[in-house]
Symmetry: C2
Subunit: 204 residues, 2 copies
């Protein structure tokens, strides 16, 4: 990886981090593009070379996560049912939520203050949803190529998986991270696999 590429990544990361730190300190609405740019040592114009909007700086995440999950879903043993395959793919990816949980918490704090950013954040994940649905469809039907328009079931499973991630993080975070994150994630998929029946009083 050449110097140019490294610099680009560094710049983007510096902008994103500056945005989150400034927001955590002064409140989201009191952070201007100018301030973010200054903290990252670039011109305001450069900010917009990296992000389409101010809000994107708080929200945009690693684009490769989606790719890895899709590949994991396709690579899982054929004997696994789809829900479990998706479950494991996400679990592997989320294993280090706790390790980097300082950064996550900082960002979560910011998003909590600004619901519209939370919305955007979900949207970022949503982009991957269609790709995941395609991967699921191909897994169900290994002979044919990946369909451009997945059927109802693959779409539903992909969407529900994304929802599961979100709810797990929200619930885990709301509880103050007092239990292992993956434990929450397991409970969620247990509910889903059972068809969402009313749980016993001690499991709500």
């Amino acid at each position: 990886m050449g110097l140019r590429e490294r610099k680009k990544r560094a710049t983007r990361a510096a902008l994103a981090e500056a945005a989150v730190r400034l927001a955590a300190e002064h409140g989201v609405d009191n952070v201007t593009v100018e301030a973010i740019s200054e903290a990252a040592d670039v011109s305001p114009r450069t900010f917009f070379n990296y992000f389409d909007s101010r809000d994107d700086a708080f929200v945009t995440i690693d684009a490769e996560v989606g790719t890895r999950i899709r590949e994991a879903v396709l690579a899982a043993p054929p004997s696994l049912d789809p829900l479990t395959a998706v479950h494991r793919a996400f679990a592997d990816e989320l294993a280090d939520v706790e390790r980097r949980h300082e950064v996550w918490n900082l960002r979560a704090e910011v998003l909590k203050q600004a619901p519209h950013l939370m919305v955007r954040s979900l949207g970022a994940h949503l982009e991957d949803e269609l790709g995941l649905a395609r991967a699921i469809a191909q897994r169900l039907d290994p002979g044919s190529p990946e369909p451009e328009r997945p059927g109802l079931y693959p779409r539903l499973l992909a969407a529900v998986a994304g929802t599961a991630v979100r709810i797990s993080i929200e619930h885990w975070s709301a509880g103050g991270a007092t239990v292992p994150f993956l434990a929450v994630f397991e409970r969620v998929f247990t509910h889903l696999a059972a068809g969402l029946p009313a749980p016993p009083p001690d499991d709500r």
Copy 2:
């Protein structure tokens, strides 16, 4: 309902409709607040009295829908399992998706052109999610009052229900509305109730 309230509704509706129509004609990015306001016969400043942002005009929907769904969930016969209770509440509310499907399609067309608006649209629904989760929690535990912070299961069920609505509409709309919407909706809940197992080849 007094004159004031009626006028407010009319103004809001006029702004929202003007926004969607102008966007459908000229493209989302070529519609300014000024143009929307002019089409709705109010001042640009008034626009911002009704919507927090330009984009909200394309996205915001009837705020009472959420209330009706919550009430329906609470009023459903206690013998119904939670998933079914939620299912029925939404189904009743969505019964006229097809009747008003001209407006929906117009809006859907606009949102398709502008992914970031799609994201916002989802967010609008998301706001209701917490309220629904509370209602579900109370339904599960009729004795106690509605909890401020619902547990994992109510949150999950509320979120999954919202996802089910979205996927149903997307899939139905992508298929050109060639089948009854509620039929799609039923299939989705059948998948969910079964725990999302791999469906037979003819049901994907």
